[in-house]
């Protein structure tokens, strides 16, 4: 019930701004909100889909060709049916567009940024056998907005995320799950594919009415 109430209120707030995007000056200050799904295509050196996640983001555009994205993701993965992995990502990225146009049908961009993350590995047969690490990461990649209207877009994004810090991994030894945390600083990474929707809510910097 609360969920529907939130959607209802969100819809009314969006409706007030649904009449097309009127920009005063440049695109700096455009604020948008969205949700997304994430797939981890391979992890470090192992190919295959081994993580699927749900997340959200908001964007604050700084200039015609420069946008920023602030995101949070929750991802779940499986390790040979014997253990499971949870990843939490919170971070930000800077996006650079190849065009000045506000909402062309296709708008490609490149992206780079930082992320803080937490990884939890848990043995499926013994939940007390678990290992956790906190680390930071850098990510870079490329994406495309498909603008369905001036305000609404679907975004595809592919980015590689390097985690800086201790490596955690699981392997199977004599049908037992062994969870390891390597000491020292290493680099492990994964390719993340995102599909998301975004709605431009307001022009925060130019929206003030002059008295």
């Amino acid at each position: 019930m609360r969920y529907f109430l939130i959607i209802f209120l969100l819809f009314f707030s969006l409706l007030s701004s649904a009449q097309g995007l009127k920009l005063k000056g440049n695109q700096g200050g455009l604020f948008s909100l969205g949700v997304r799904s994430t797939v981890s295509v391979f992890d470090h050196d192992k190919f295959g889909i081994n993580g699927f996640g749900y997340g959200g983001q908001f964007r604050l555009q700084l200039a015609n060709r420069l946008n920023t994205e602030w995101f949070a993701d929750y991802m779940r993965g499986n390790i040979s049916g014997l253990a499971n992995r949870t990843d939490y990502h919170v971070g930000w990225s800077v996006m650079y567009y190849f065009t000045d146009k506000t909402a062309p049908v296709v708008k490609p961009y490149i992206v780079a940024g930082h992320c803080f993350d937490k990884t939890v590995l848990v043995d499926n047969s013994d939940r007390s056998n678990r290992i956790t690490k906190n680390s930071s990461a850098i990510q870079a990649g490329a994406g495309i907005h498909f603008n369905l209207s001036e305000r609404m877009d679907i975004t595809f994004l592919a980015q590689y995320m390097f985690h800086l810090g201790q490596d955690v991994h699981a392997h199977i030894e004599n049908d037992m799950v062994m969870l390891h945390k390597k000491k020292g600083t290493g680099i492990e990474g994964h390719l993340l594919l995102n599909i998301g929707i975004n709605y431009k809510i307001a022009d925060l910097w130019h929206n003030k009415k002059k008295k």
């Binding site: 699927f52 779940r76 848990v122 998301g196």
Partner: protein, 193 residues
């Protein structure tokens, strides 16, 4: 000769149907406009694609139209029970996403996708309660018959996977079917009567 008569009859029926339906479209006021809120609650059967299992859901959605073609849709699935293999013991799923429509008068074909999450519990291990990210892809049709009612039919593919079942595949993809009566309400005055 008899075949020709049959063909003539079929052509006549098709022409009458066309005139009748186009007449309806022409006479009716257009309800598909920005500001249209649509909601419904219905019972939905769901076939699990990775196992011999049928789940039954209480399914509700609320959709708000931002544009003639674009709307945002929030959906809630609550599992009432299941048959055959009974892989799931409990499942509550919520999604929020986008719908893109192709309106023809008051009739619409629409498709969309929605990221979301499920809270799942399997009969294989009742202590393995899990918060599972999901994604829903759907396609459907609906016909707005009045300013307050519509008939709809919708097919959804939902991907979800449990990861904390020991040595058991947790794949729980479903194909969900929904049909029923929807309620709609235009919130913008300029599109009302």
């Amino acid at each position: 000769m008899a075949q020709q008569k049959e063909k003539m009859k079929a052509a006549l029926i098709l022409a009458m149907l066309f005139c009748f339906t186009s007449g309806i479209f022409a006479q009716q006021k257009s309800y598909i406009n920005p500001g249209l809120l649509t909601a419904s609650g219905t019972l939905s059967p769901a076939v699990m694609l990775n196992r011999n299992n049928m789940n039954y859901y209480l399914n509700g959605f609320l959709e708000g139209r931002l544009d003639k073609r674009i709307s945002l849709r929030g959906e809630l699935h609550y599992m009432l029970g299941n048959a055959s293999e009974k892989f799931l013991n409990r499942n509550i799923r919520t999604t929020f996403g986008l719908q893109y429509g192709f309106p023809f008068g008051n009739f619409e074909v629409h498709t969309g996708f929605a990221p979301g999450f499920s809270i799942m519990e399997s009969n294989r291990n009742l202590s393995a309660f899990e918060f599972v990210p999901t994604i829903q892809l759907n396609a459907g049709v609906r016909y707005y018959v009045w300013k307050y009612f519509n008939f709809f039919s919708n097919f959804s593919y939902v991907h979800s996977k449990m990861n904390n079942l020991n040595q058991i595949s947790g794949m729980a993809d479903e194909f969900v079917f929904a049909v029923g009566l929807g309620l709609n309400f235009q919130v913008l005055k300029k599109y009302r009567d």
